[in-house]
Amino acid sequence: MSSHTDATPTLGVGILGAGPVTQAIHLPSLARLGDILTVRHIMDVDAAVAESVAARVGAAHSTSIDALLGDPAVQIVAICSPHQFHAEQVIAACRAGKKAVLCEKPFAMNAEEAARISAVSEETGVPIIVGAMHTFDPGWLAAMENRDDLTGTAHTIRSSIVLPPNARFEDFATEIITRPAGSAPDYSDPEVIKGALRGGIMGLAIHDLPLIRRFTPDFKDIEVLEARHVRPFGYVISLRTPTRTIELRAAMNNTWKPEWSFEAFSDDAALRIDFTPSYVQAGSAVATFSRGSGTTVHGPFDHNGYEGEWRELAALATGAKQPPAAQTLIDDLTFALDIADATAASLDAGQAAREAAQPSVPEGAHA
């Protein structure tokens, strides 16, 4: 592990996991916030990656979580490790007495874990935010400030995502080392489809599910009408609650043209938010309200939700802002998990129905 000796009045940041998200998203965002935040420590299980990424920002490096959490120069911890490690690492960061924690989504794999994390956060007084970047986007925040009663009156909500390969935008943001290897899934296997849809919900849709939930007061009564896989990776999921119709669309393909939008409609008002692509620092989303013959536009603002996350963390760490309610984080997570579970159940039901509908082959017959 290397060391650092300089001292500045900025808040020190430690990052667990130095993969493409850290390299292409967090470090460029932090580079724009050098007056309030400084990267002090990079941890990765791959020592060479940790060293290389840390060298870019003059930070210490290690392969040990304990080393990072024990580093007194680190006041804010960002958890960018694989999903299954999030819960334990968030709890460890809280127990280490840090000032604030950013956990990449999802911050837990089930509601019990989420409740446990929230309890530790409350006990230690360490605020936690989840890296659902769109909830920190100034375009979204402006929409929330100007929504009037739309969160209560909306009846139809749409999330639509078309994404080029991640590498296209990672390469616009930085110079990546150690990209994870790709694979060619067997989509003839229903279990692979089920896994792909679950991954789509917990890895992609989850960016906007907190937004959708704000417009869905009866979110606990979510029902999957139909869920379909889009090749090579994506989904079409039709949902409803007693008062809302919700459509989720996503396609990750080889196009150059990204589109990421959120829409909500009531009888007399509509909101559309067009988000900028992930990875690049392309400013905020633009929120457009339509009300009959008139439209009102908010944005673009000069920074995106990733930078917004870090600004929020700095404000939390200095006590300038109060942390979000623990129940909000738990509800956001359980909403996503409920959709993922219901999607899997609907696929199982569909598969069972198809098998039941197939004519049985007489014993001894040859196909």
């Binding site: 009846h155 139809t156 749409r158 639509s160 078309v162 009408l225 139909e226 379909r228 889009v230 090749r231 090579p232 994506g234 079409v236 039709s238 409803r240 119709t245 459509e247 669309r249 396609a251 393909n253 080889n254 196009t255 150059w256 043209k257 409609f265 009531s266 009888d267 007399d268 008002a269 509509a270 339509s290 009300r291 009959g292």
Partner: protein
């Protein structure tokens, strides 16, 4: 100067099809029928039973029939009657008759075999009958994609509907209807392939605002030429061309595909 065809419309059709405006915008080609003289062109509204009404008109000697917003109905008898009488029957459909549709159809058909997903949304004012909205919506989609498979309605209510289908290659089709007065009514159709796609935005037919058809590929995005002509006027212009040339439009045959799709929903 070309010959002018006389026109007579039922009151319902006159309003629904903005007939006076369309005819006035083609003053060399069409004009109102005078007195009780038989009209060259009869305009009827497409409520249930319209095929019989149209057949009666062609049997009585109308050379052309315009049907405004036709409801799903079997057109076999009408096709036979029109064929026998040598009459031209054109359909003035809310979105499917937009003059940008032929170019949109070409663009979509050239990519639909490689489609990954087709997503389409129709919006209409609050109070619109969702069955009528779905019929207008499907007519536009089927016009550019061809017949859809496994079409069904997942949910329907006063705020709209959610429908599902598949393209010929098995790619998912998602059709959503939304009742809201927040935005101008219209239809969007988005076809995505692995490296691009086609997006189509069709406006309401009561003004000459243009549809937007964009084709996206590896080399960039192309906005097809905009056509500042309403669906109503485009319908009348097509009729004029057929009447002048003595050719027969394929509207009824095409409409059979939409009716077939709708029939699977009932």
């Amino acid at each position: 100067m070309s010959s002018q065809y006389s026109v007579r419309a039922t009151p319902e059709a006159r309003e629904a099809g903005a007939v006076a405006l369309a005819v006035a915008s083609l003053p060399e080609s069409f004009g109102p029928a005078v007195g009780e003289n038989p009209a060259d062109v009869v305009v009827i509204a497409g409520q249930p039973g319209w095929t019989g009404e149209a057949a009666t008109a062609v049997t009585a000697g109308a050379r052309g029939v315009v049907v405004v917003n036709p409801a799903a109905e079997n057109t076999d008898s009408l096709q036979a009657a029109a064929q026998q009488a040598g009459a031209a029957v054109v359909l003035d459909q809310r979105w499917a008759s937009n003059p940008a549709i032929p170019a949109a159809e070409d663009a979509v058909r050239s990519m639909v075999g490689r489609a990954a997903i087709l997503d389409s949304v129709a919006t209409a004012p609050v109070g619109t009958d969702t069955g009528d909205l779905l019929a207008d919506h499907l007519a536009a989609v089927v016009r550019v994609t061809g017949p859809l498979g496994k079409l069904r309605v997942l949910a329907r209510g006063p705020h709209g509907y959610t429908s599902t289908a598949v393209l010929a290659n098995g790619a998912p089709v998602a059709l959503q209807g939304i009742a809201s007065g927040a935005r101008p009514a219209g239809v969007t159709i988005t076809l995505l392939t692995d490296d691009g796609g086609v997006s189509v935005a069709l406006p309401e037919p009561h003004a000459a605002w243009p549809a937007m058809v964009k084709v996206t590929g590896p080399q960039g995005e192309l906005l097809l030429p905009t056509i500042y002509e309403s669906a109503h006027r485009a319908t009348w212009r097509r009729l004029k061309e057929h009447l002048d040339a003595g050719t027969k439009p394929s509207d009824l045959q095409r409409f059979a595909a939409t009716s077939e799709s709708l029939a699977t929903l009932t």
